[in-house]
């Protein structure tokens, strides 16, 4: 998100937060969020693909709502109105091509209207058929939804698959497949959108999902302040903010939101963007001559990724605050935690909570309830390693993200066992404040170092290069 967009969104949010307090608020939030999907999607080398990806985002969101909403609620008036608004926005985004507004909403020229009409007709047929046939087997349809989302997710995250799909699209458009690249499919915010959709589908499967209207659902999935970089809110919490009437923003609410926005802007555009200049990357990793400077570059990366990510979260929380939303926290001083467990409870918290809810806890329950129960350490090892591997793969399906996940999974397991080992031995030391302070400081330092070294896997593209950098950091490179 550029500064210009943040400014636009801030003004829009302030206006909506201060002026709109009636039932139209949800429609407006949905409409603006839908427009933001087009506005924020970056240009792609394949003609009009940015437009199509934005449109498919909306299609998937409506599909997610149809899958998770009881059939008897689908045709309620407010849902039909919301659907009409969404279709109008899609058509308007396309009409900019003819209104001389070509690139104002989408990054490149939208497709011809007849193409969109064919697409919309097929989409309506598809959604209608889904709504009709899901009555026959809701479980099967919900499972299909999960499979489909994971399928798209895997395609986007595996570079070779993304390149292959790009090649197919290029071929279909009569262009050379030779120039296909994984970056051709840079789908704005899909990782977050997919995980919100998966959360609602899974909660529907387990019966925890409340009934929400289409405008509420769409607003939750593509809420514009959190579209690009989260946080991944829970719908149950989100709709509480959305449904609250009347929304009275106090001066303190506004000033807190403003403060949060300013802190976010400073973190992202001053700290993170400055550190990005000197942060470790695949080019300077090979050029750096000494271990000392390599550490400097690694620490720069370590803080750059924190300020970048937490800055965006602050911006989202700030803009959300102007609208009367309290988006969840994502980062709470993660580099000041004395162990890896606490680090992961304060780093990208909403993503961690997601995996805890939908992988760690169910798998732990399963392993503990089976006939042949595994020993506790084995269960901890399997669940922590599995969770961290999945968190790694969420960032991209590459060996380096696998290794980063393993690094943290093993670290968490070792720390868990070490803590278990130490607990009885440190039991009598609670009153020794000096020693406790020293141990806490040492733990924070060691945890930070471990996390920082882990970023070597995350920041670089290949295991070989990461290994070279690790050796250099430890003064063992040739």
């Amino acid at each position: 998100m550029t500064l210009t967009y943040i400014l636009i969104f801030t003004v829009v949010a302030l206006f909506l937060g201060l002026v709109l307090r009636d039932r139209w608020r949800v429609y407006l939030l949905m409409g603006i969020s839908a427009l933001a999907v087009y506005l924020l999607q970056p240009a792609l080398p394949i003609r009009s693909l940015d437009f199509w990806l934005s449109t498919i985002t909306l299609l998937l969101t409506v599909l997610g709502w149809i899958l998770t909403t009881p059939s008897d609620k689908l045709r309620e008036r407010n849902n039909l109105v919301a659907l009409a608004i969404l279709v109008s926005i899609v058509v308007f985004a396309d009409l900019t091509r003819y209104l001389g507004l070509g690139w104002t909403l989408s990054a490149t020229l939208p497709p011809k209207l007849e193409m969109l009409m064919i697409f919309l007709a097929l989409a309506v047929l598809f959604l209608g058929a889904t709504a009709y046939f899901k009555r026959l087997s809701p479980i099967l349809f919900l499972a299909s939804g999960i499979v489909m989302l994971l399928g798209i997710f895997i395609i986007l995250k595996v570079p070779s698959l993304a390149t292959a799909v790009s090649g197919v699209i290029r071929y279909a458009l009569g262009r050379s497949s030779a120039n296909a690249a994984a970056t051709d499919l840079r789908w704005l915010g899909f990782s977050y959108i997919a995980f919100r959709l998966l959360h609602t589908i899974r909660d529907r499967q387990t019966g925890r999902l409340p009934v929400v209207s289409l405008p509420e659902y769409v607003t939750y999935v593509i809420f514009f302040p959190a579209l690009t970089a989260g946080p991944i809110d829970r719908i149950e919490r989100f709709i509480q903010d959305l449904r609250r009437r009347p929304i009275l923003l106090s001066a303190e609410d506004l000033s807190n939101a403003g403060k949060r926005l300013m802190v976010g802007l400073f973190k992202k555009f001053v700290l993170a963007d400055s550190l990005a200049i000197i942060a470790l990357n695949n080019v300077n990793a090979l050029q750096t001559r000494t271990a000392g400077w390599m550490w400097v570059l690694l620490y720069a990366y370590t803080f750059q990724i924190l300020f970048d990510f937490s800055g965006y979260t602050d911006i989202a929380i700030g803009i959300g605050g102007f609208l009367g939303f309290r988006l969840p926290e994502n980062f709470t001083n993660p580099y000041l935690k004395p162990n890896l467990t606490q680090f992961w409870n304060s780093w990208h918290m909403t993503l961690t909570q997601w995996f805890r809810s939908y992988f760690f806890n169910p798998v732990t329950r399963f392993l503990r309830s089976g006939k042949h129960r595994l020993p506790i350490p084995a269960i901890i090892f399997i669940t922590q390693l599995g969770t961290m591997l999945l968190i790694g793969l969420w960032h991209g399906i590459t060996w380096n993200f696998v290794l980063w996940g393993l690094w943290h999974g093993i670290g968490l397991f070792v720390q868990n066992r070490w803590s278990e080992f130490l607990r009885p031995r440190l039991a009598g030391l609670e009153n020794r404040r000096g020693l406790n302070f020293f141990l806490t400081a040492l733990s924070i330092f060691l945890t930070f170092q471990y996390v920082a070294l882990g970023w070597v896997w995350f920041a670089l593209p290949t295991p070989g290069l990461s290994w070279q950098v690790l050796l250099k950091l430890l003064g063992m490179a040739q």
Binding site: A251, I278, N284, R289, W293
Partner: protein, 380 residues
């Protein structure tokens, strides 16, 4: 959304915050307008980071070469290693000149200054000779004079000023980014040494009212900050430009038969057209510090079509010959220590892929020639 913790916290009026912020913004800008803040003198170089071995200059994107172009003399000097303190046993030699001195495509240690510095010379009084590269791309004698004027603050013991005909021509009198970006220093130079510049011919980058606000020089501040950050990568990697590790031997161009030089026609040009007054001013700026004025080597093409008319793609023979003659006469008259090394490196084997820049081996030839002059330079 209602405030949950309003009981204990002070109620903040956002409009008041906006007004206060605006007042503070205006106040800071007014300070900036009324007081010259020499932010360029602040630097992490030579303090937390090693100083650069040549002035910041970028022909490539900064992200690739960890360098960027600045024409702010304060920033240039504060990032340069010459700003580090001078020790008692140091004999400080500064080299002035254009891209051939700056060292286009060369590693810092392969430049003229780098190779001279690596020669571990001792001065006549036994001090260790340190040679500093104060070259800056594109020749302009006025640019050299401005740099020299600043360099005097760093107490050089010897100045080696490398020039060529192209530095002294009228078009290069004011047409250089450093000259145009530093109008106040140019006015000062002009006033102090009675230099007549035609200020009306050039659009100097005068600072308007808006330019003097924080908003106005945000780009300069951003460049300054980025240069500090690139200093980390310069320190980590030693990279400050795209280096050419292998050089193709210069392939000779076809020489044109045009023997005019700008609008000068043979058989002779008016010597007053050369910026010798700026050269004289430079000598005055140097004061008692000895100056060695060097006519830099050029590639002499022979046996080619029109090589009887031209030495290279830049210089017709008649112009260059007369320039050398004038320089010899002027040097004698003014008692300048002048060395004419124009034909020192005639072979194409020593030239890189242009007829202006020497390869490391060519620089080595140049170094060999200069060493005795530096070694036996008078002690101040």
């Amino acid at each position: 959304m209602t405030s949950s913790a309003t009981g204990s916290s002070r109620l903040i009026n956002p409009y008041l915050v906006l007004v206060k912020g605006l007042i503070l913004f205006i106040f800071i800008n007014l300070i900036c307008i009324s007081i010259y803040i020499p932010y360029g003198k602040l630097s992490l170089y030579n303090f937390l980071l090693p100083g650069r071995e040549r002035f910041p200059f970028a022909e490539e994107v900064p992200e690739k070469i960890y360098n960027l172009t600045t024409t702010n003399l304060d920033v240039m000097f504060s990032s340069h290693i010459i700003s580090s303190p001078k020790s008692k046993d140091e004999y400080r030699v500064v080299l002035l000149g254009d891209s051939s001195v700056w060292g286009a495509s060369l590693h810092p240690e392969d430049t003229l200054a780098g190779q001279l510095d690596d020669a571990n010379l001792k001065s006549c009084d036994g001090r260790k000779v340190h040679v500093y590269n104060l070259g800056y791309p594109r020749n302009s004698i006025t640019k050299d004079a401005l740099i020299l004027n600043e360099a005097m603050r760093y107490k050089p013991d010897l100045i080696v000023w490398i020039t060529t005909l192209g530095s002294l021509t009228p078009d290069r009198r004011l047409d250089h980014p450093i000259v145009q970006s530093n109008p106040s220093r140019l006015y000062e130079l002009s006033h102090k040494y009675n230099l007549e510049f035609d200020f009306s011919t050039i659009n100097f980058n005068h600072a308007s009212f808006l330019d003097r606000t924080v908003f106005g020089f945000r780009r300069d501040i951003s460049d300054w900050a980025r240069l500090q950050l690139y200093g980390v990568l310069w320190a980590a990697t030693g990279i400050d430009q795209v280096y050419r590790n292998s050089f193709k031997v210069y392939s000779l161009p076809e020489l044109i038969d045009d023997i005019s030089y700008f609008d000068w026609q043979p058989p002779a040009f008016d010597p007053r057209l050369l910026s010798l007054d700026v050269l004289e001013a430079g000598m005055e700026i140097a004061g008692k510090t000895p100056v060695i004025l060097v006519n830099e080597p050029i590639l002499i093409i022979s046996g080619q079509k029109n090589s009887d008319l031209r030495y290279d793609s830049s210089y017709p023979r008649w112009v260059y010959d007369q320039y050398r003659q004038i320089m010899n006469v002027e040097s004698k008259e003014n008692e300048w220590h002048y060395i004419d090394l124009w034909d020192l490196v005639p072979s194409t084997d020593f030239w890189g892929d242009t007829d202006m820049h020497l390869m490391p081996a060519g620089e080595a030839r140049f170094v060999e020639e200069l060493i005795p002059y530096i070694r036996f330079a008078p002690c101040p």
